[in-house]
């Protein structure tokens, strides 16, 4: 049931994507748009196929940065959320601070990380982490707060240690929320990685876009954008797959 519905959604999405590209191609040819303004999809695909090794190298760099930032945001985000809900004092004083920090435009902080961490991979991972982590924190806090009172009492009566209660009761209870946070965080981590590469980099798809822009190489900018869209979709699909796998115990949602 679930699998069939997924397959259906993917087929529908692919079809409309394909129709969009065909319309773009046809209109572009008909209106004779200059490639420097808007290249045709076939030109963009040819560019990618032509220099596929080069694009692969930059894509992998961006992918690794994204995954590292994402992994950090999940681990530290869940940890921070666990600390926040562990005491009313933290929740009252620390949580508003974190919400406030979340409202600082993180893209604007990116140049600071270059000052602090140099021009290597670290500042990019840090930015990806920073942009993604709040989604994890907010959803994990929500999930940990949603443990039903009866279940919390049960854990208490069973005389579990803090660790037992956290790993066997609270964390599994919060897992659906954490996973929906992860779905947002994975996209944000990719944004963070690109922003990091915009600020200063010699590698990655963000660098490809910036350097191509300098040379008015619009085809190359679009090639990087195509790959980025595909990467974003793929990463999102991976998290959706994880969600389905880890919440298989849940009753099928009515739609």
């Amino acid at each position: 049931m679930k699998g069939a519905r997924h397959a259906h959604a993917i087929a529908a999405g692919s079809l409309s994507g394909l129709l969009f590209l065909i319309a773009w191609e046809v209109l572009g040819r008909w209106l004779e748009v200059k490639p420097v303004v808007l290249p045709l999809p076939t030109q963009i695909l040819a560019e990618i196929i032509d220099a596929h090794d080069w694009y692969l190298d930059h894509s992998l760099f961006t992918l690794m940065t994204t995954l590292a930032g994402f992994a950090l945001s999940v681990v530290l985000g869940v940890l921070i959320a666990a600390i926040l809900v562990s005491s009313r004092l933290f929740e009252r004083y620390l949580y508003p601070l974190i919400v406030a920090l979340n409202n600082v435009p993180k893209v604007a902080i990116a140049p600071l990380f270059v000052i602090w961490m140099g021009t290597g991979t670290e500042p990019k991972i840090a930015i990806a982490f920073l942009i993604a982590v709040f989604a994890i924190i907010v959803d994990t806090v929500h999930g940990l707060r949603s443990v039903p009172p009866d279940v919390a009492d049960l854990a208490h009566v069973l005389r579990g240690s803090w660790w037992q209660v956290f790993t066997k009761v609270n964390l599994p209870c919060a897992l659906p929320s954490i996973l929906s946070g992860m779905k947002i965080a994975i996209s944000l981590a990719l944004v963070g990685a690109i922003v990091g590469e915009f600020v200063s980099s010699q590698r990655g798809l963000g660098y490809v876009i910036m350097s191509a822009q300098g040379m008015f190489d619009t085809v190359r900018v679009f090639a990087a954008l195509f790959i980025l869209s595909a990467l974003g979709l793929l990463l999102y699909a991976a998290v959706v797959w994880m969600e389905a796998r880890f919440t298989a115990w849940r009753p099928a949602k009515e739609e």
Binding site: D150, L154, K168
Partner: protein
């Protein structure tokens, strides 16, 4: 004091703090001998659940003395089973693994409890559902599983907080029969909180009647009816006399006011009407 008492309460008082501090329990004195089935009966909000939660170490008493097996309650005592109104099953674990949760928490070897799980499931008619998830079971089956979980490590004290309150009347009757059967094979001490008069009389060796807030024990009745009690015992005169006695008590306490012709707390009368 008494060597056979499993629960001793002296002048137990429980006040919930807050702007309008609520006194839930006031001077509760009781001595409960081991191996009995005690029904705790009272109107909603009379503190009977609070008393149970204090015995289970979930709530702390404000003053007085409350001992389980001679030891002052200071957090949940060892070797108790607790059944909640809503079953509190973990949705992401199948029924078997739900039953084993207390064993995991106690860090005991799971292998030793495999047979016990099957035995409990067979006893409650859930043998075919060990690998199912809670959402695949009906309300009555879920509550049976919750009872099995509470019994997994043979507790000598079983605390039940309106365990059948969320079930329909027919399922509730079934569960009463089953609980009696289970209890006759375990003979542990059970504190069973309910607001159903018929249910309290049907199940209990004794019925402890709580007064409205602040909760005190207004009266304790011995129920001298032979076991196993069939459902039809509810139509006998002896049973009716017990119910009438409790209803009179409730009337004296001002819980039922039949003169007003008000639909007097119909839920308290269910199973009798």
């Amino acid at each position: 004091m008494n060597g056979r008492s499993i629960i001793e309460a002296q002048a137990v008082r429980k006040v919930f703090p807050g702007k309008h501090g609520v006194t839930a329990l006031e001077r509760v004195d009781v001595d409960i001998p081991a191996g009995r089935f005690i029904s705790i009966l009272g109107p909603s909000g009379c503190g009977k659940s609070t008393f149970l939660r204090c015995v289970g170490g979930i709530e702390r008493i404000t003053s007085g003395s409350l001992r389980v097996r001679g030891r002052e309650v200071n957090g949940p005592p060892e070797g108790i089973g607790f059944v909640f109104q809503r079953d509190a099953l973990l949705e992401w674990r199948n029924i078997r693994r739900n039953l084993l949760l207390p064993v995991e928490f106690a860090r005991k070897p799971l292998a030793q409890y495999r047979d016990k799980v099957e035995e409990l499931l067979a006893m409650t008619g859930l043998a075919d559902f060990a690998d199912r998830y809670p959402h695949q079971l009906s309300g009555g089956m879920r509550q049976r599983a919750a009872i099995c979980r509470a019994l997994i490590d043979d507790p000598d004290l079983l605390l039940m907080d309106e365990p059948f309150g969320a079930l329909d009347a027919i399922t509730r009757d079934q569960m009463n029969i089953e609980l009696q059967r289970i209890w006759m094979s375990t003979r542990n001490t059970v504190l069973f909180v309910t607001h159903g008069i018929a249910e309290a009389v049907f199940l209990g060796d004794e019925v402890m009647v709580f007064s409205p807030r602040p909760g005190r024990i207004a009266r304790t009745l011995r129920i001298d009816l032979p076991r196993p009690r069939p459902l039809s015992i509810r139509e006998t005169k002896a049973f009716g006399d017990y119910v009438a006695e409790i209803r009179d008590l409730f009337q004296q306490m001002g819980i039922f006011k039949e003169r007003d012709n008000a639909p007097a707390s119909g839920n308290l009368m269910e199973g009798k009407a």
